[in-house]
Structure formats: structure tokens, C-alpha cells
């Protein structure tokens, strides 16, 4: 078993803090010495059956670094995972089991107990469950490979040292607790202990832990899970929208996103207007639009820039074309800059890139605000109002 454990350590925690693991092992052994395991036969069976699943899962979990879609938040407070914790008692060094127990979906579905019927849970289970928090932290490492989880985990590891004593105290309290009060006791423990919110890969429900010093009722937990989801998505959007790195706060971000979407829509309109105007004069060549040849874009650009209508349209409006230029900058593979802020940035960034000179000549006309032919300008205005 120890062999398996060590292999788990090496493969799971590459580059991770090993001291947490060692500490947990030491604590586990201490606990086992204090009170030897629960005496239900069921958990043993559970353990026996879940081990192969665990090992199977071990293999699969390392490859997946993706978040699972959350379906329904469920309060973690000891409702469904008790039998899995019991596994820890039966196979002490099977540290892996304790971690993986959270995960195997088939096992979870079978072993879930409702909160009211958690009478089977004994004090030892509560104590064991307190261990799970760190396991959960480590588990989260596997399920989410984001940097945030890494940082959180490290913070937790630091805090774990301080709170170890508190947790042991809590465990002692839990030991003397009666069965029916298990759930509330667990909730108290979880709020006292240094637990953190975690998300487990499960098909049916999500396990979320209450953070230290926060409310533990199901509503607030569910809301917290939702909020975290939303903030994650906001971060994704932040990557998409150029120039959002400096803006903090949801309101500002949303404003920026709205502006960006509006500018993109305007760009589309502007370009379709350009197409409508340009088409009669320039022969519309299908070969100019390779779907697969990216360098062809740069090659085509001088050809497109030479068309007279292009130069005219370039003067039509400042902003959309600036946005169009920023779009071109993006298209050439340049990392999205804050090109939405001012021409200066756009004009400066252009020389930095390997764009053709025709692009610069295109910029100059509109930067000097040349007048454009009346017809096109009127049409453009008509189209917009």
C-alpha cells in the first residue's frame, strides 16, 4: 500500500508541496492510534469495491485538466461522502483512496447518503472528513489546472500549519458528538476548520465547501459557487477583449465588453458597406479569399490597398477604421494590444509589425482627414441613421 502511495505522490504531486502530504500522513497515523476504525461492515465493502475504481480513476484524472460543467450545487457538509471517508480508516496508508474517493462517479452515486440518514457517521468519520479538506485541495489541483487553484492551494498549505491544532480540537469535539447531530456538528467543524470551497468532478452534483468564517447554509454556498463561475467567465472574456487587463471590477469590464461588441458590430457594418461600394469597381475575385492561406492575406493587402475606393473609404470615419486596423493587427498574429485606445497606439504598433507599407499609406490618408467623395459619405450616413 505504501508503494502505491508513494507512486501516487510522485505522479500526482510533481512540483507540489510535499510537506502537506507528509503532515497529513502523520496526522492520519496519529488518528488511527487514537481510535481505531469504524466498525461497519458496509464501509469495508465499499472500500473494497471502490479501490479498483479509484485506481482506474487515477489514470484518467491526470489527463483531464478541465472543469466539469456544474449542474447543481450541493452542500458538502458531510451529506454524501461519509462512507468514502470511512475508507480512509480501513486502509490507512491508502491515502490515495481518501483523495480519489471524492471522485469516482459510480461510487458516488451508489454511496450517497442523505443528510438525515447520516446517523451512521461516527465521530471518527467526522475526524476523517476534516482530513478531506486538504485532500480536496489537492484534488482540486488535478481537476483544475488553473493558476488560481495553485495559489490557493499554497495559501492553504501555509494556513494548514496554523490551523492544525484547531482542527485536532475540532476533531476531539466531534468524537463525542451524537449521531443525529452529525450534520450540524460537521457544519460547525467545517466552518471552524480551514476548509475551502472545492469543486469535484461529479455527474450529478457539486460539492462545495464553506470557507473559513463564512455562512454555511446551502443558499449562500450555492450563490458562492455561482459567483465563482461568473468570475471565471469574466476572466475568459477579459482575455478575449483587448485592453481589459488594466480594468478591474465587473462593471468596468462589462462596459468595456459592451463597447467592444458594439465596435465589432459597427466594423462589420462598415466592412459590408465597403464591400457594397467596392464591388462594382473592383473585380471580385474569389481566389483572393483563401480560407487556408494565411500569408496570402499579407500578399493581397497591397493589391487591395491600391484600389482607389479603398483610399476613399479609408477617410470615411476615424473610429471604425481604427478598429478595423486593430482588427488587422490581430489578424496578423500580433498579440492583441490596447488598440482601441487612440490612434497613437495603433500607429505606433504598426511599425512594430511586419506589415506592408501599403497599410501605413492607408493610415495616413485618414489621419489627415481628407475629404471623401460625397456620394460614398452620404451613403454611409444614410446607412447608419
Amino acid at each position: 500500500m505504501l508503494r502505491g502511495l508513494h507512486s501516487l505522490e510522485t505522479c500526482t504531486y510533481n512540483g507540489m508541496d510535499m510537506t502537506v502530504l507528509e503532515r497529513q500522513q502523520a496526522r492520519l497515523k496519529w488518528q488511527q492510534q487514537q481510535n481505531y476504525g469504524v466498525q461497519n461492515n458496509n464501509p469495508i465493502e465499499l472500500c473494497a469495491s471502490s479501490v479498483p475504481q479509484i485506481q482506474g480513476f487515477l489514470g484518467s484524472s491526470f489527463g483531464s485538466g478541465q472543469l466539469v460543467e456544474m449542474k447543481k450545487p450541493e452542500v458538502y457538509l458531510g451529506s454524501d461522502d461519509f462512507p468514502k471517508f470511512v475508507n480512509l480508516s480501513v486502509a490507512g496508508p491508502e491515502f490515495s483512496a481518501s483523495k480519489m474517493d471524492l471522485v469516482p462517479p459510480e461510487a458516488a452515486a451508489d454511496y450517497c447518503i442523505s443528510r438525515t440518514s447520516s446517523c451512521q457517521m461516527t465521530a471518527f468519520q467526522t475526524a476523517v472528513m476534516n482530513e478531506e479538506r486538504e485532500d480536496v485541495i489537492l484534488k482540486k489541483m488535478e481537476s483544475t489546472t488553473g493558476r488560481e487553484s495553485f495559489n490557493k492551494r499554497k495559501v492553504e498549505a501555509v494556513q494548514d500549519d496554523k490551523c492544525k491544532d484547531k482542527r485536532i480540537k475540532g476533531e476531539v469535539e466531534g468524537e463525542s458528538e451524537v449521531k443525529t447531530k452529525c450534520s450540524t456538528e460537521v457544519s460547525r467543524n467545517s466552518s471552524k476548520g480551514n476548509s475551502k470551497a472545492s469543486e469535484v468532478q461529479k455527474p450529478d452534483y457539486i460539492h462545495v465547501r464553506a470557507r473559513r468564517g463564512q455562512a454555511t447554509d446551502s443558499h449562500s454556498l450555492a450563490e458562492r459557487a455561482r459567483r465563482e463561475k461568473i468570475s471565471k467567465k469574466m476572466k475568459c472574456l477579459q482575455d478575449l477583449v483587448p485592453g481589459c487587463n488594466k480594468i478591474t471590477g465587473k462593471a468596468g469590464m462589462l462596459d468595456e465588453i459592451i463597447n467592444y461588441v458594439q465596435s465589432l458590430q459597427r466594423q462589420v457594418e462598415f466592412l459590408s458597406m465597403k464591400l457594397a461600394a467596392v464591388n462594382p469597381s473592383v473585380e471580385f475575385n474569389v481566389d483572393n479569399l483563401p480560407a487556408k492561406e494565411f500569408p496570402a492575406y499579407v500578399a493581397n493587402f497591397p493589391a487591395a490597398a491600391k484600389s482607389p475606393a479603398m483610399a476613399n473609404l479609408a477617410c470615411l470615419q476615424f473610429n471604425p477604421l481604427q478598429k478595423a486596423v486593430s482588427c488587422m493587427l490581430d489578424a496578423t498574429g500580433h498579440p492583441p494590444q490596447t488598440a482601441t485606445e487612440g490612434v497613437a497606439s495603433a500607429s505606433i504598433s504598426i511599425p512594430e509589425q511586419a506589415l506592408s507599407s501599403s497599410c501605413i499609406t492607408q493610415l495616413q490618408p485618414f489621419s489627415t482627414w481628407n475629404t471623401d467623395p460625397q456620394g460614398l459619405y452620404n451613403v454611409y450616413n444614410m446607412g447608419f441613421h
Binding site: C236, L254, V261, L275, A291, M310, A331, V379, G383
Partner: protein, 161 residues
């Protein structure tokens, strides 16, 4: 970037082929020699619709916003076909859908949802097609995908022009 370009079934290639087809159709239908403003405006409208349509069809109803956009385009084309009965049907359907979505929205807001950013989400809902019927989570997802598709559209149109 380059793997996308090489992928024959990527969003970009799908959009490009459809868009090109639409443009050639428009060109074939209305060979314009003059550049009178009205004609250009007409063409502009058609091209815009073609662009939207090709994008929405490239995404193929996998996303809510594409479904909403396709629905809008379809209802618009039905309206242009000037069939009164069809128009009534579409408007009643639309009203039913809007009622349902408004109800959904109300129920969502009353379930203790945290409304930390109410005003901007409304703005976003207006922008993203089909955004009225979604809660914030899905709205953000749809916005991300919509932004991605819009950038694709703009790039391709840039190349085309």
C-alpha cells in the same frame, strides 16, 4: 492561428465559403455599373444580411445567439415575402417566446440571484442576439462566442474588401 486556417471545417472556412457564395450571388443578381447611393445602400443591406446569415449558419444552432439570429433573419425574410398570414404567425410566436423569456427572466431575478451588475447586463443583452432569455452565466458564455465569431467575420470581410 494557423491550425485554424488549415482546418477545413473550422468556423473561419465555413463562414468564408458561405459568405463568398452569398456575395457572388448578389453580384450575379445585381450587376451594378453605376454607384448611385440608393443602389449601394441596397447592396449594403443585402451584403450585411448575407454576412449575418452566413455567420449564423456557420455556427449551426449550437449557440443560443446563432439560433436567435437565424430566427430573426428567417422572420425578416418571411416578412419581406409579404405573406400576411405568415407574418401573424411569426409575430404571435415571437410574442409567446418573448413572454416566456420575460417570465424566465423575472423568475431568475427573484430567486435570490445576486444582481451586482444589473444595468450593464441589460446593455449586453441588447447587443447579443437572443440575450434576453439567458441568465448571466450563459450570457457571458454567449458573449464570448459571439465576440469570437464577430472577429472572424470582420477579418474575413477585411480580406474580402
Amino acid at each position: 492561428m494557423s491550425p485554424h486556417h488549415l482546418n477545413p471545417s473550422s468556423l473561419k472556412s465555413r463562414f468564408t465559403t458561405r459568405f463568398l457564395r452569398a456575395l457572388t450571388n448578389i453580384n450575379a443578381q445585381n450587376p451594378i455599373s453605376s454607384s448611385s447611393p440608393r443602389e449601394i445602400l441596397q447592396r449594403y443591406r443585402r451584403i450585411k444580411v448575407a454576412a449575418d446569415k452566413s455567420m449564423a449558419y456557420s455556427v449551426r444552432s449550437r449557440r443560443t445567439w446563432s439560433r436567435a439570429m437565424r430566427w430573426k433573419l428567417r422572420s425578416r425574410s418571411w416578412r419581406q415575402a409579404s405573406s400576411v398570414r405568415r407574418l401573424k404567425i411569426t409575430t404571435t410566436c415571437h410574442q409567446a417566446i418573448m413572454k416566456k423569456t420575460a417570465h424566465e427572466r423575472e423568475s431568475k431575478t427573484t430567486t435570490g440571484e445576486e444582481v451586482g451588475f444589473g444595468v450593464q447586463t441589460d446593455g449586453l443583452r441588447e447587443l447579443v442576439p437572443g440575450g434576453e432569455a439567458m441568465d448571466i452565466c450563459n450570457l457571458l458564455d454567449e458573449t464570448a462566442h459571439y465576440i469570437k465569431c464577430l472577429t472572424t467575420q470582420v477579418q474575413r470581410e477585411q480580406i474580402a474588401s
